[in-house]
C-alpha cells in the first residue's frame, strides 16, 4: 500500500468516507427500528429519536455522496459516472461496485419518498421505506468486497460490530412487534408513565 499523495488522496478519501457511511447507515437502521417500535435512547425524549433518525440519514447521504464522487473523480481506478447508478457495468470490480450501485438506488428511493411523504401518501411511503432492509445488507457486502480494507484487521472488526448491532436491533424490533401494545392503549400507557393517568389495572 502506498502513502497518501496528491494522486491517491481521492482514493483514500473515497475509502474513508465509505467506512464512515457504513457506520452511519447502520446507526440509521438501528434508530429507524427504534422509531418504528417506540423505543428510547438514554437521555433523549422519546420523539427526539425520530429527529435523530432523520438527521443521521441526511449526514449519511452527504458521506455517501462524497464516497461515490471521489471514487469517480479519482484516476487510480476508472469508474464511469453511469456505473454509480447502473449496476454491474463498471469495468473495475463489476459485481462488488454493482452492489454499491444497487444499494445507492434503493437508498435514493427511500430518501426521495421520505421527502415527498406529504404528497404520496402513507401507504406508498411505508412500502418503499421497507427497501431500507434490502439496501443496508447490499451496502455491507459491497463494503467488504469492493476493496480489501474491510477483509482483515480493525476494519473487519468494525464491520462485524455494525452487522451485530443491526442484527441485534432487528431481533429487538421483532420481539417488540410481538409484545407491543395495541394502538389505542399506547397513549394511555404513556400518560400513565408520566403520572397523568392511573394505570390500566387501577381504573
Amino acid at each position: 500500500m502506498s502513502g497518501i499523495t496528491s494522486t491517491t488522496a481521492l482514493w483514500y478519501a473515497s475509502r474513508a468516507t465509505g467506512v464512515v457511511s457504513l457506520i452511519l447507515l447502520s446507526a440509521v437502521m438501528i434508530i429507524g427500528m427504534l422509531v418504528n417500535r417506540q423505543g428510547r435512547l438514554p437521555g433523549l425524549p422519546r420523539f427526539a429519536v425520530l429527529g435523530l433518525h432523520r438527521n443521521l440519514s441526511l449526514l449519511a447521504v452527504a458521506f455517501v455522496a462524497v464516497h461515490v464522487l471521489t471514487a469517480v473523480t479519482d484516476s487510480f481506478v476508472s469508474i464511469s459516472l453511469a456505473a454509480i447508478v447502473i449496476p454491474f457495468i463498471s469495468s473495475y470490480e463489476p459485481l462488488w461496485l454493482g452492489l454499491g450501485a444497487v444499494s445507492l438506488d434503493l437508498m435514493a428511493a427511500v430518501i426521495v419518498t421520505s421527502l415527498l411523504r406529504r404528497h404520496i401518501g402513507r401507504r406508498v411511503w411505508r412500502a418503499v421505506h421497507w427497501l431500507a432492509y434490502a439496501s443496508w445488507p447490499v451496502a455491507v457486502v459491497h463494503s467488504i468486497y469492493s476493496s480489501h480494507d474491510m477483509q482483515s484487521g480493525p476494519l473487519l472488526y468494525l464491520g462485524l460490530v455494525c452487522i451485530a448491532a443491526v442484527l441485534g436491533a432487528l431481533g429487538w424490533r421483532l420481539i417488540r412487534a410481538r409484545t407491543g401494545l395495541p394502538r389505542a392503549d399506547r397513549v394511555p400507557q404513556l400518560m400513565a408513565d408520566r403520572g397523568l393517568l392511573a394505570r390500566a389495572g387501577d381504573r
Binding site: F47, L50, D185, P188
Partner: protein, 440 residues
Amino acid sequence: MSPVIAGATQARQAPAGGGGFPRLLPPPTHLPNPSSPGADLRAYLGLHGPVPYRDSAGALIGEVRAAGLTGRGGAAFPVHRKLEAVAAARPGRAIVVGNAAEGEPASHKDEALLFLAPHLILDGLQLAAEAVGAGRAVLYVRGDLRARTRLDDYLPERDAYGLDRLPVEIVWSPHRFLAGEESALASRVSGGPAVPQFTPPRVFERGVDGRPTLVQNVETLAHLALIARYGPGWFRALGTPDEPGSMLCTLRQASGSVDVAEAAIGTPLATLLDLSAAGAVLVGGYHGAWLPAAQAAGLTLSNAQLRPIGAFTGAGVLAALPTDRCGLIESARVARYLALESAGQCGPCLNGLPSIAAAMAELADNRPHPRVLDDLGRWAGLVEGRGACHHPDGTVRFLRSALRVFGPEIRLHQQGRCSAATARPFLPVPAGPSTEADWS
C-alpha cells in the same frame, strides 16, 4: 337557552318572513314553544317554504360561491371549492355527509342546531347532494345525542311531505375529539373506526367506501339551505365582505353560564362575552388560542382579525376565563385531555403530546422545574406539522397561546404561588381514559 346577537350595527329584530335574524335559530319568542318553526315541520314549511331544488346538478354551486359561504366546522374552507371538487365525479357516485360529530367538548352549537332547526340541516343535505350529483346522503351525528334529538322521527315525517329526494342514513359517531375529522368520519361511515386516516387521498377524492365524499358541518348545510332560498345578496347582508354571513357560537361566560348564540361575523367579542370578570378569553376551542381579556375586548369575531394574532374563529367556541381561575391549571387539564384524544397512530403525536401534557401539568403545579419552559418550546416545535391530521398542530397552537398569555402566572408559579382562588375546573373536559371500543 339561546340568545341571538347581531353585529353592533344590527339591532335585534323580529324575523321578517324566513329571512330575518336570527337566521338559523328560532327567534327567542318561539323558544319555550315546543312547536317552534325550527323543529315542527308544518311551522317550518310555513316559514321557509319547500326545499328549493334546482333540478340540475351544479346549479347551486355558483350561488354558494357568490355568497362566499365558508365551512362552519372550524376550518372556514370555501364551501364552493369542495362542492366543485366532488361534483366532478360521475353522477350518482359521490356521497354527501352532514357532520354533527361535534367532538369539541366546549362546543354545543351543532347539538343546539339539531335540536332547534333540524329541517334546515336536512334541507341543506338534500340541496348539497343535488348540487354535486350525489347518490347517497348521510347524517353523521354524535351518538350520545340520539336520545335528545328526534332525528329518528323527522325523517319519516319529511317523507310524508315528499321533501327528501335521497333517503338519509344516520350514522352515529363516538364522542371523541377527532371523530368529526374528515378522514376519521369517512372511515367510520365506511364501517371502520373513527380515527384519522393518512392523506392523500383526501376524502373529496376517495372518502366513504372509496367514493368522492363531500363532508360539510351541519351548520354549513343550514346556511346553504337558506342561501338557496333567499340568495347570495341576502346572505352577504350580514358579516364582513371577506367573511360574509353569521355563525353560531358557544358562549361560556365568566359567570359559568353557557349559551349558543348566532352572531354576525365581525361582531365585537365584547358584545358576545361579558369581559368585566374575565382574565383571558379562549377563542376557537381546544385547538384555538387564549387571548388576554383586554386584547379580546378590542377584537371582533372574524378570522381577518384573529388569524394575525395566532387565533381563529374555529367552530365558534368563546370562553371567558374568570379572574379567580388559573389559566395554567385550565390549560394543563385541556392538554392532558388532548393528549388522551390522540389516536396513537403517528409518532410525534403519540409520543409528543403526552410529554407536552406532562410538562404543562408541571407548569401548573407548585414551583415547576426551570427547564420545563425550554422543554415545552422544543417539543412543540418537534410535533408541529408532523401528524396525519391537524391534532398535534392544534394542540401546539393552544399550548403556545397559554404560554404567551399566562406568562405572569408562570412567574407566580415559579415563586410557589398561584392566582387561583378556586380549584374548581372551568373548561369542560370529559372524564375517563379511552379504549379501543371508544373509536366506533
